[in-house]
Subunit: 555 residues, 2 copies
């Protein structure tokens, strides 16, 4: 390999400084999670495809990284497939010769399946094709489509097939096999060559975990999870194909006290990170539903919320235009006017909403929920964050059913949201466990990192190097030094010996490049007097110390 | 989805207790790594395939998990491929008709490439096929083989091709396309549909990292890395498809002081884990080479070491039989006899080896290296581990060039090695950076976990639940409780409120099931007197306390 190696686009190497800073954020979040009673779980990096597929919409399915089956499965699939094709062609030929070709155009897939798919495929459960993913009916449909198209569609083709079929079965089979791959290509073939996929988020694996382990879990279950996820998104600035998610969720209770707790949790984490002045925005899906109901657009709730969500970015006029274009009536939109003028305190906004939503039962319920959370937070107080009602907040996510959260960085920093979450009444329904309400929030690690970096909020100690480097003057000195190093390490001081008796200058340069604050020099004289020459690399100051003094270097 | 969801075989979910115990091991190892001056890096979960393939032998290549390309690449590949095939068939027909068919059997691949592969493929760098992985010459070879086999091999086929070629080009193309997939199947097609693969170990990505970032790294570079790796191995007891590796390596120095440091590091980690009595086995590749030289089997070094490595398991006689069967002479094997009788202290074993290896320069060098490490460790002392010479230790790894390490659990536990490593003189050579010596060790997390579990060495505090649960008697009481909870959390006490005003019994059961040591009850009376009823869930004792007393619960 001549050229310099590289990593896949959208992925990152992290150097020691970056790892240390990221761990500082992780550990801060983790310690607050635990103070609040959340417990960690971990799930595998890859899940069975059927666990993930269909859970994130078509776009999501496209962005899921699929893992190729290992071994020579593809090879076996191909060989079995060609056999099946040959046998099917045989059966079709026999069928035509016996019953005539008149009715061939009117066969159902079931008849095709029964008549043409070889018996050993239908009956033998041990054949590779059936063992794994190849669905009988789907295979029958696919093959029939190709065979029909290639041989039976026109009288001319049909005649050729009847005339030459017996003698050229291998030829024809290869042609069908080629068409199979060509017509069905990636989407179709993928089903046969991959059955595992990389985690796309932490919510679906968590739902799977809860259902799978429901008998071992004590509900309500407060879990946190900090693991990487992978998305085959187009890489661009700030968007990666591998990134960490940090989620906390409670499952198994409807209590609004949990919403209160999550607001406190956000406040606690960002306060502990010294990131003061974040805004915790809150909304409620029921309010959005209520508004849609009031303006006669209940059937267009998604279009309506998607448009409203853009208010910040494109402004009132464009939002109205978009709503109109989606078929929301002029009259309906005019009823929204008070919404666009909503401002002032949480309380006064609530009052305006009450007026707008007085006739909507669901909207009123949403207001009550918001009021509950707001009243509790007002009473309990927040350390450095502000709770703010944002009725435009929708987060484009269809599954929230109650509270919706989003956290904005302090206004001095240009950055999108640094966290978000909400309540979803039926978290585990996709896996067959109904009536499990969940509510959770998530922290955006990469963006929090950028914000802390920009505001200079990483503590200096996070990225510090080792405390002291012992200069190596030769094997005797090195051994003497290692005895001291052993004592220092036992005392919690990070210490090391330069591994070689290189030139003094080289070793000092090494210490400087690594920002090591102290070096120790041990020569003949020090060994004889059982002392150490300690040099402060910042001040340049140098003094002779005892081992005891050295061990208390950091005090 | 009706049936209960599951996870792929060979993978694991970790529940809160397991995560806590695993983190305890990680954090212990990490803290020692840092005390010794190692710095963390992280690399992406997947690498470009060419970074990993060919680095672990054929068996390794087979066990690497490959990631399917995303998007409709497969689809585009197929469509382009069929176009290329059609154009090639056209070109071949024209060629045959113009120059006759006599010489078609004698064309070189280069001529095939020049004459038949369509110009737009050869010249247009933007065509999907060329942009990505499809190699011109490989494609030309592949296609030519199939076309030759299908149409040109026998006179009869050739005539058919010449007669019918023009009118049935689509038919023929599909047949070639089918043959392409069929003949080359998984191994071949994989090249075109996957270009990323999951990390198989941490060593190769580390080597890649060092070469890629060589200009930013200050050498010698001491790095540690604790990340999962994936292997498509047959899952079985104790062998997983996803597992963590914890590695520490130094790159960029030949100093033997590093071997000394790694022995100390193993001792420090296992002592800190309270896992006393581990044996750190050490050997040296140069000693194995020296012995092979002495017995005249230098060309059979691998066979020789593989056999010797089995001494523990199959005994002296079987080892000798295996050596004989591999072509090592009787005379040579008889020279090994002192080796089989090697016992006693490190020092006396060294003396025996010196006698055996006196005429081998390399063997003598190996002995000197071992003596250096042994002398230093004897002088420095180990806390709880024992250093032991094991001349049969080879670890089956071809890339070690100097020291070889392996750690055995205390004899009271039946368990394979719980760690291992060694020196490899040319770590980064595979990526084009020569003369970079590396030495490193690794910890076997899963086995260490099992050993600590078996010996009951996990500290109780590791898996403790929250400290205190506040019983929920209603919204007013809950709000009062949350004020106390806020104060407790600020004081480092893990506290939570039961989210609903459920029946008292249900809430107490919840506390018991989660092993929560204390619950607090707050009713009308407590609110009025600003006190809290604290119940010890172990002793059953119950008393009235103030907030200040509550805040000092853990003292």
């Amino acid at each position: 390999m001549a050229q310099k190696p590289s990593i896949p686009k959208g992925t990152r190497d992290f150097n020691p400084e970056q790892v240390a800073k990221r761990n500082y954020i992780f550990q801060t979040i983790q310690s607050v999670f635990e103070t609040f009673g959340f417990q960690p779980i971990e799930t595998p990096s890859f899940e069975n495809s059927e666990t993930l597929m269909g859970k994130y919409g078509d776009e999501g399915d496209r962005l899921i990284f699929k893992i190729l089956n290992s071994g020579d499965y593809f090879d076996k699939l191909n060989k079995s497939l060609v056999e099946v094709i040959k046998d099917s062609l045989h059966n079709i030929l026999i069928f035509i010769k016996k019953t005539g070709s008149e009715n061939i155009n009117w066969l159902t897939y079931k008849e095709v399946y029964l008549n043409f798919i070889p018996n050993h495929i239908k009956s033998n459960k041990n054949i590779q094709l059936t063992e794994e993913k190849l669905n009988y009916n789907q295979l029958a449909e696919t093959l029939w489509f190709i065979i029909y198209d290639g041989f039976l569609k026109t009288q001319e083709k049909l005649n050729q097939f009847i005339d030459e079929g017996d003698s050229r079965i291998d030829d024809f089979a290869t042609r069908v096999f080629g068409s199979f791959y060509f017509n069905f290509s990636s989407v179709h073939v993928s089903d046969y060559i991959t059955e595992k996929a990389l985690r796309y988020d932490l919510t679906v694996p968590f739902a799977r975990y809860v259902v799978q382990h429901q008998n071992e879990i004590e509900f309500p279950f407060k879990r946190y999870q900090m693991q990487p996820v992978w998305r085959a998104d187009r890489p661009q600035k700030g968007r990666f194909r591998e990134f960490y998610q940090c989620d906390a969720d409670v499952v198994g209770s409807n209590s609004l006290w949990q919403e209160v707790e999550f607001v406190q949790l956000y406040d606690a984490v960002f306060s502990k990170l010294k990131l003061e002045g974040v805004t915790i925005k809150i909304n409620n899906r029921k309010i959005l539903s209520g508004i849609a109901e009031i303006i006669g657009a209940s059937d267009k709730l998604i279009d309506f919320t998607v448009a409203l969500d853009k208010l910040d970015k494109i402004g009132e006029e464009k939002v109205k235009e978009e709503m109109l274009s989606k078929g929301i009536s002029e009259a309906g939109i005019s009823k929204l006017q008070p919404l666009f003028n909503l401002s002032g305190s949480f309380g006064s906004q609530i009052e305006s909403l009450k007026a707008i939503l007085s006739t909507s039962k669901e909207g009123t319920k949403g207001i009550q929920e918001l009021e509950f959370v707001h009243a509790a937070i007002t009473e309990l107080g927040l350390s450095t964050a502000t709770l703010q009602l944002d009725v435009t907040l929708a987060r484009g996510l269809n599954y929230y059913t109650g509270a919706i959260f989003e956290v904005a960085a302090p206004k001095s920093v240009q950055m999108g949201s640094i966290g978000g979450g909400g309540r979803y009444d039926d978290l585990t329904g996709i896996f067959g466990l109904d009536d499990m309400s969940g509510v959770g929030i998530s922290f955006g690690l990469d963006r929090i990192y950028l914000v802390l970096e920009e505001l200079g909020l990483f503590p200096e100690t996070v990225t510090k190097s080792i405390d002291v480097l012992f200069i190596n003057f030769g094997d005797k000195e090195a051994l003497f030094s290692l005895k001291a190093i052993k004592a220092l390490r036992a005392n919690g001081i990070n210490a090391e010996l330069y591994p070689e008796a290189a030139k003094m200058k080289k070793q000092m340069t090494h210490a400087n490049r690594r920002n090591i604050p102290f070096v120790v020099l041990v020569g003949e004289q020090e060994m004889n007097s059982n002392t150490y020459t300690l040099k402060n690399m910042v001040s340049g100051e140098q003094k002779t110390v005892s081992l005891d003094e050295l061990k208390n270097l950091k005090k």
